[in-house]
């Protein structure tokens, strides 16, 4: 028994969204234009250590994986990261492919799982972001008036200065210069997910640093 979504074990140079079914299943469609390297054979050669066959295989499947990722993830940076995740996963578990079985269901399962993982990470980060925003609003309502004093600002900026480079950059761009995530990502070359993670870590570090400072006599 093999998975049903991917129907043919063929690849083409260009795959489009049309080849991903509405349910997000991958469907490889033969275009009959002779563009199909045999993925199964290429992977068998790759398992034997053939570098050229492996490179050809990865190049050949990338548009197909990108089509699936694009279907589930709107963001270009997320799509690129997911494609890289899929390629890395394929590399690490290429020993699990059995050349007697069709290649497409094997690839489809890995790609689908990695896309789902990315969607989950994004959802978790979004929820965390929302929680942090709420916490900030609550904190603002009950804020200690002495925090408006110049010394408090100094302490905050001093703490920001002590953050690791990535975290400091994320805080400066997103919270001080108030750039959007997209703008900050374009400016730094970091992905949106990486920026969210860096900001979250920066909050935690700042909280720890400021609490330590307050406790000091």
């Amino acid at each position: 028994m093999t998975s049903s979504p991917a129907t043919l074990d063929r690849g083409c140079d260009e795959m489009t969204d049309d080849e991903v079914t509405p349910r997000g299943h991958l469907r490889l469609v033969s275009r009959g234009n002779g563009c199909s390297p045999n993925w199964s054979q290429l992977m068998a050669q790759a398992q034997a250590g053939d570098r050229q066959a492996y490179t050809n295989l990865l190049v050949s499947i990338t548009p197909y994986v990108r089509a699936l990722a694009r279907r589930a993830l709107g963001n270009v940076a997320d799509v690129d990261e997911t494609v890289q995740d899929v390629l890395l996963t394929i590399h690490r578990i290429r020993h699990t492919y059995d050349p007697k079985q069709p290649f497409a269901p094997w690839l489809a399962t890995i790609a689908r799982r990695r896309v789902i993982d990315r969607v989950r990470v994004n959802a978790t980060l979004a929820a965390r972001d929302a929680a942090l925003t709420d916490a900030t609003l609550v904190d603002a309502a009950t804020i200690d008036p002495t925090l408006d004093e110049p010394n408090s600002h100094d302490a905050l900026f001093a703490a920001i200065g002590m953050l690791p480079d990535g975290q400091r950059l994320a805080v400066e761009l997103l919270k001080i210069r108030e750039l959007s995530l997209k703008e900050a990502a374009a400016k730094t070359g970091m992905t949106i997910s990486a920026l969210k993670v860096a900001t979250h870590r920066a909050y935690k570090t700042l909280r720890r640093l400021l609490t330590t400072t307050e406790r000091q006599p």
Partner: protein
Amino acid sequence: MSDIQALITSLGQDAKPVRRLWPPALRATLWLIFATGLIAVFACERGLHHDLAHRFERREFVIEWIGSLSIGVGAAFAAFYLSVPGRSSRWSLLPLPGLMLWLFSMGYGCYADWNRLGLQGLIPTTSFECLEFIIQTTVPLSIALLFLLRHAALVRPVSTTVFATLSVAAIAAAGQSLTHHFDTTIMVLIWHAGTTAVLLTAARLVSPRLMARLVAVPFSSR
């Protein structure tokens, strides 16, 4: 050169020969052979049930035993197939007929006990010998199963762990039926079904973290 192109170039250069994973059916068969050997050792050590031949003449016992064995075999194959990318999720249906047979025979046994002995027939008895056997068989069986699953990609970590646990519990139950000297269905139901339920819940809770530690490339749950 884009990040993806650079990655492909880098992975292509790193394409060392790899040893293919053994087919799931072969690994499942190996594990079942190991399980059979282990139970045979315990049977030799403890001795078979004093009236095993007579037990196998009873239709309900045979149905229960075959049900338990079918679950063990079916769940083992399901676990190994589900752990490999590209295999159909329909493999998870494989233990279902055995499970239905087993539950039916257990339920029927309880009903028969109740008819024969009244409420007294439903009062569970305890047997630490039974618990000891469960531990002695399930621990090595689980270790062997994890050993054979460790190189899999585990695209479905929870399903794989649940079926692996179910298989271990059912094989242990089938083995115990051959050696256990009590014959009280309700007790067997509580010990086996209860232990299986506890193990399955534990598997469900810990499988993502456990598998993340055990396998090279874990995937998230479900």
